[in-house]
């Protein structure tokens, strides 16, 4: 970075962001800053300033923007006017990226802990990169030599510096099955996975950019090309895009509503999207599944579904064998049945009741126009097959929905009956509509039930692969008659582990094809297999799947190759079945984002992991409390991203335009550490045990790193620049051999430096109707080739671990874990909610009411922050200094609480261990695994009293307070205990979701009372001065050093409120 001469204050004056953010603060309704239009033809150089096209990384969406650099310092960010959804806007999270990048809390050099663990004693020394890599590698190699490969583990997630692929593959490269991420089962994994199980297509998440169709045709540039906006009715279920992704899908929602799209918002919170909704259903936290079943009841009874789609493109008419809970196959049920000659082996024929004859009949897959000539499948049906009364999948769904009349749903879910009815009518009455399902549902017991139910609704309505629907696919259509029927390969993100190591079953392909693939890998006869894909590697990777923590019961986690978080914590606490010992955490503040944070803190600080390696751009609660070594990572403005960033059909570059200290891309440390550890370990292959085999690596014919090592791991920034130049060099007129410097010179002030995919190659529909190379319609990537509203994969997964564990198997799940007679439920059902307020007519669907904790709480995001990021951004903290708990005036009055009061919130996690062990899993159903539920003290927050939640409901944002370990604090703390809702969430003894093991971040119970501001928490704007950005390329304040040893810590790492950074 060029040497800067600005003082901290003059820096801020120079940065136009200051005015923009303050303006945002005075007009919070939009929380957007509008950028000026350059007409796409290149910008005007202002003084010494230049700008570069880039993509904001303030949240998980990707808003195209322009980054202005002056004298080597980023001074301004604004939305790119040509961006198709944010349309020139940028939200507070994006604008505040300058404060993040230049924060005095940045880690700019490798740091080694010199003080004892704990925020009060934290001290660091700067070391060289070589020293840091060697230290990490030595500690990893030492523990693996002492305890075997399972002693090493990784984690990721929590906001910023995402390293998903690296985190998933780093432990596997070193022979360990353990990796976790606080999101995952609690964020997006359930929705993306159920979409894969049910139809093999895009899921219903707006936040994760799966739902794109509603935002099509909003941009003037696209309208001019004739692209139309087709979504007329949109259901936002447990999603608040205007807050979570303000500039992109939030702006998109505003544009959508302005164009007349009607919206139904299902959310306990009166969010900005709920305020503008046509119909708002303020569902009681955690009761969504019952509400969904009430929709099914009405739609099935009144035949509001799309008749042709439900009959011929879903498995709802299939008769289900009550013994196996799987659809009857014609060949197994009908003696002498011969599969039609034109039906390929990879496409089974099932049974249904023929509505025309009333008899059981085979239902072959095919073009509905042809199939209906022979059979007319009945949707709601019951018939006797081989002596067993067998219901159609739709009938099973209808039976499950029986209790959920509109009246009872209203009573159970706290939503007026007429409003539920109006919502159903609006949704079903549209020519095409779609549901967008947000993160809230992932954070409850119903993490699998809700997405299964909501995707099933769009499926039975036929809202699939159509203009205006949310479940659509993008990209060129396959040519007619050329492509094979769709299949799905499993394990890892998008099946990457299947592709890497060969493990897993390719769903949709025949058993013979799968067996042949595996055999060729084992024999080494597969000519296309890479050198590392061989029998020993396949066996080793398969073993890791079997031994992964928590897979006994929660196998949906396989889809991202992640462990069950409470099971990892339990293993750390108990040392069984093996103890994770050396930890490489790759992003975020784990104490802010892990449920039951106090339990994690206790686990670490009581004979916990022996060495903790972190990589992150910031010092957060986690690093200050427990990190032993920190690798410095680039923030967005420094980081050159991958080539695929974009918004809709627009691809924008992501060049690193500045560089601070010795920071690196997040893919560098894992690669360097794994390579270095591998060198050490490969010298001892005879004495290093591969976990769970009792064999040495030599006996296993393996060496480190296993497989291809760290996926996405790189040694230097040049490698990512090469992909950036390959993707965007063309539009800038650069040759293939161009350098970073060439790019930055050519891209200067070029507003047109982006790529656009032609609309007709991107917005495509009817994929399932295209003719495959077997002459049949393509259909979907499921075994049945249809949308599996009745999720058959759940049944198989819960019994053997199929398709992930193939070619080996796990035994069945613990029958207490499954809500469908001991299996995972194939349809939406209402599992027992463990912590609930007093519910009238709750029946067996809720656990007994606990009057000590009478209020339901849920949580969500606010405009200013994403996940655990940016609490150190001073202007964001000025606007939102501490978390507010939203409380209805009636409830507030009941508890003597006024608007603006500090209040204390308690839950079972803060209130002692006398907890009745009930229906929970793992930690609660085994009498031998008693768990003290008191893991921390109650949290404190500020009351926001308004009609924004129902009486008896609270809502708050998770939080952490970096000021708590500022040098000015006389008693430093880690800042995660004071105001953090995750202290009270339940990841201990809740009813973990059966498929994914999701714990309960939302929809549990608490108590509230008046309290006082916590000692270390800042509120007043001037208090945040120490967080003001600095251009000094060094640390400028202290967080404590070992007493009297300052001269030994060179240079001293300090974090004080020193004026003038440079």
């Amino acid at each position: 970075m060029q040497e800067a001469t600005l003082t901290r204050r003059s820096f801020v004056k120079a940065a136009t962001i200051a005015g923009a953010v303050l303006a945002g603060g005075s007009a919070l309704t939009g929380c957007l800053q509008q950028g000026g239009s350059d007409g796409g033809g290149g910008g005007t150089q202002v003084g010494g300033r230049v700008f570069y096209n880039s993509i904001c990384h303030g949240c998980i969406q990707a808003c195209p923007c322009k980054v202005y650099v002056e004298d080597g310092v980023v001074v301004k960010i604004e939305g790119h006017p040509d961006a198709p959804t944010n349309l020139g806007s940028l939200c507070l999270k994006g604008l505040n990226q300058i404060h993040t990048c230049y924060s005095p809390r940045r880690v700019l050099y490798p740091l080694r802990r010199t003080g004892a663990r704990g925020a009060a004693t934290a001290a660091w020394e700067r070391i060289s990169w070589d020293e840091a890599v060697e230290l990490a590698a030595v500690k990893i190699a030492e523990t693996i030599e002492k305890y075997g490969t399972y002693a090493f583990f990784c984690s990721v997630g929590g906001g910023g510096a995402y390293s998903f692929m690296q985190a998933m593959t780093t432990p596997m490269a070193l022979g360990s099955p353990t990796v976790f991420e606080p999101g995952c089962a609690q964020c997006y994994l359930p929705r993306i996975t159920e979409a894969a199980y049910m139809y093999g297509g895009a899921d219903q998440s707006i936040a994760d950019c799966a739902v794109l169709e509603p935002f099509k045709g909003l941009a003037p540039l696209e309208e001019a090309k004739g692209v139309t906006q087709d979504t007329k009715v949109l259901v936002l279920w447990a999603a608040q895009p205007s807050v979570s992704q303000t500039a992109q899908s939030g702006r998109g929602m505003a544009e959508l509503r302005a164009r007349g799209c009607k919206t139904i918002v299902v959310d306990p919170n009166f969010s900005p999207d709920a305020v503008k909704a046509t119909i708002h259903l303020p569902v009681r936290p955690g009761s969504d599944a019952a509400l969904i079943l009430s929709w099914y009841r009405v739609i099935l009874d009144e035949k509001l579904y799309d008749e042709e789609f439900i009959k011929f493109w879903t498995n709802m008419p299939f008769l289900i064998n009550p013994g196996t809970k799987l659809p009857w196959l014609a060949a197994e049920a009908i003696e002498g049945y011969t599969i039609p000659a034109d039906m390929p082996e990879d496409t089974p024929v099932y049974l249904c009741v023929d509505e025309n004859t009333g008899q059981v009949a085979p239902l072959p897959f095919g073009d509905p126009a042809k199939v209906k000539a022979t059979v007319n499948p009945q949707v709601l049906a019951t018939a006797t097959v081989n002596g067993a009364e067998s219901k159609s999948a739709a009938q099973i769904y209808r039976d499950e929905a029986e209790p959920w009349t509109l009246a009872r749903a209203a009573e159970f879910c706290w939503v007026p009956e007429d409003r539920i009815r109006a919502a159903i009518d609006l949704y079903t009455g549209a020519e095409v509509a779609g549901i967008a399902n947000g993160v809230a549902s992932d954070m409850e017991e119903t993490a699998s039930q809700v997405p299964v139910g909501l995707m099933g609704l769009d499926m039975i309505m036929g809202y699939i692969n159509k203009p205006g629907a949310t479940m659509t696919q993008n990209g060129p259509l396959p040519a007619e008659g050329e492509a094979p029927r769709p299949t799905m390969f499993w394990n890892g993100f998008g099946g990457m582990f299947g592709q890497m190591y060969g493990i897993g079953y390719e769903v949709g392909a025949t058993k013979e094809a799968n067996e042949a693939r595996i055999k060729a890998i084992e024999d080494g006869t597969n000519p296309e297999a890479p050198p590392f894909q061989n029998g020993p590697t396949l066996f080793a990777m398969n073993q890791l799947l079997l031994d992964r923590l928590g897979m006994k019961n929660h196998r949906g986690l396989y889809n991202w190759c992640h462990s069950h978080i409470p099971s990892v914590r339990e293993a750390i606490e108990t040392g069984e079945p093996f103890k994770p010992r050396v930890w490489f955490d790759m992003s975020g503040n784990k104490f802010a984002v892990l449920g039951s944070a106090g339990a994690w803190y206790n686990a670490i600080m009581n004979d916990g992991p022996e060495f903790i390696i972190c990589q992150y751009p910031m010092i957060t609660s986690f690093q200050i409390e427990v990190a032993d070594l920190i690798f410095p990572l680039e923030e967005w403005l420094e980081a050159t991203g991958a080539s695929e960033f974009g918004q809709l059909n627009y691809g924008f570059p992501s060049p690193g335009v500045i560089h601070l200290g010795e920071t690196v891309p997040n893919s560098v440390p894992p690669k360097r550490v794994v390579d270095a550890a591998s060198v050490l370990l490969n010298e001892k292959l005879d004495s290093v045990t591969f976990g769970a085999t009792g064999k040495s690596m030599t006996e296993m014919e393996l060496q480190f790193p296993l497989g291809l090592g760290v996926m996405g791991g790189i040694n230097s920034e040049e490698e990512v620049w090469a992909t950036q130049i390959a993707a965007y060099g063309g539009v800038l007129g650069l040759d293939e051999g161009a350098t970073r410097e060439d790019y930055l010179e050519a891209a200067k002030n070029r507003a047109d430096a982006y790529n656009v995919t032609p609309p007709d190659q991107y917005w495509t529909y009817g994929q399932h109707l295209v003719t495959a190379n077997d002459g049949l319609p393509m259909g979907f990537a499921t075994e049945s080739r249809k949308c599996e509203v009745y999720n058959t994969l759940h049944i198989k997964l819960s019994r053997t671990g199929w398709p992930y564990c193939y070619p080996r198997e796990l035994g069945p799940i613990d029958p207490r874990a499954g809500t469908w007679g001991g299996d995972y439920s194939p349809i939406c059902n209402v599992p027992v909610q463990k912590e609930v307020p007093e519910i009238a007519n709750g029946g067996d669907f809720v656990a007994p009411y606990d009057p000590e904790f009478p209020l339901a709480i849920t949580s969500g995001r606010v405009y200013y922050f994403h996940h655990g990021t940016m609490r150190h951004a001073p202007f964001a903290r000025e606007l939102y200094p501490a978390p507010f708990v939203r409380i209805n005036p009636a409830t507030a009055a009941q508890y003597g609480i006024a608007d603006g009061d500090w209040v204390e919130i308690s839950s079972r996690r803060t209130q002692g261990s006398e907890y009745v062990k009930g229906t929970g899993l793992e930690l609660s159903y085994s009498g031998t695994k008693e768990q003290n539920t008191k893991t921390a003290e109650p949290i404190r927050t500020i009351a926001y009293v308004a009609e924004v939640v129902a009486p008896g409901v609270l809502w708050m944002e998770r939080f952490w307070n970096p000021e708590c370990f500022d040098s000015s604090q006389p008693n430093k703390t880690g800042g995660w205990q004071e105001c953090n809702v995750n202290v009270i969430t339940n990841a201990i003894d809740c009813n973990f979701n059966e498929v994914f093991g999701s714990y309960t971040n939302r929809g549990f119970t608490v108590n509230i009372k008046k309290s006082e501001r916590p000692a270390n928490v800042w509120i007043e704007p001037r208090e945040f001065e120490p967080f003001m950005p600095t251009t000094a390329n060094e640390y400028v304040a202290d967080i404590g050093v070992a007493r009297d040893n300052k001269e030994l810590l060179t240079p001293i790492v300090e974090f004080a409120a020193t004026e003038g950074g440079a």
Partner: protein, 219 residues
């Protein structure tokens, strides 16, 4: 930051937390307290002693920092001595400049105080091993066999080969659970102070004492 002005209970709690939270350093922190419990140890002797201990191989910090952690936690007292080994007290420093004080102090020495002695009791390997053996009595014979096996240094692969496939690895596990890894037994014995890594797993003196006691009882 704890100081020696704090009450006994607070310093005891802080010191115990220090040992519990800093897993890799715990064995050597314990040994420092134990070494300084007998008599004052000058810094250079103490650093030399630490360097000779196998537990120091795994420590994450240089000896001086570890000593200082214990001082900060309030379980190790520090003494400043002149070149004749006499204490440089606050009274002797009175009226002297900083440079004169520096000239006066020849070395520092350390002594485990009453808090440190209580910490030694809390983390006493013999007591911890007994507790470990009593917690799951069914595992006692395996612990004893393993301690005996580790009377000479062993690699983990040898320990794994010894225990792999045994029923004890499924003790207390529910049906369908994965078995315990053999490393569990090493982990628990090492945490209690019964074994240590020194170019291989090897029994400690305290481990030997307990093993002898078990053998005697069996006879």
């Amino acid at each position: 930051m704890p100081t020696t002005d704090c009450a006994f209970e607070e310093r005891f709690s802080t010191s115990c937390d220090l040992l519990r939270a800093n897993t890799l350093n715990r064995p050597i922190l314990y040994k420092i307290l134990k070494a300084c419990a007998v008599e004052r140890m000058p810094l250079f002797e103490l650093e030399l002693f630490i360097g000779e201990q196998p537990e120091a191989q795994s420590a994450t910090q240089p000896p001086y920092f570890l000593i200082q952690w214990l001082v900060d936690a309030g379980s190790l007292d520090v003494y400043e001595l002149d070149d004749e080994g006499v204490d440089v007290t606050d009274e002797r420093k009175e009226g002297l400049s900083e440079d004169e004080i520096d000239d006066l102090i020849f070395e520092t020495a350390y002594r485990t105080n009453e808090v440190g002695l209580a910490v030694l009791g809390e983390f006493d390997p013999t007591a911890r091993l007994k507790t470990l053996f009593e917690t799951v009595p069914e595992r006692l014979s395996t612990y004893a066999e393993l301690l005996s096996f580790l009377e000479e240094p062993r690699a983990y692969v040898e320990v794994d080969a010894l225990l792999r496939g045994r029923d004890i690895l499924m003790l207390g596990r529910d049906e369908g659970d994965r078995p315990l890894q053999p490393s569990v037994f090493l982990d628990k014995l090492a945490a209690a102070g019964g074994i240590v890594w020194s170019e291989g797993w090897i029994i400690t003196d305290e481990g030997k004492e307990l093993l002898e006691a078990i053998r005697t009882e069996e006879e």
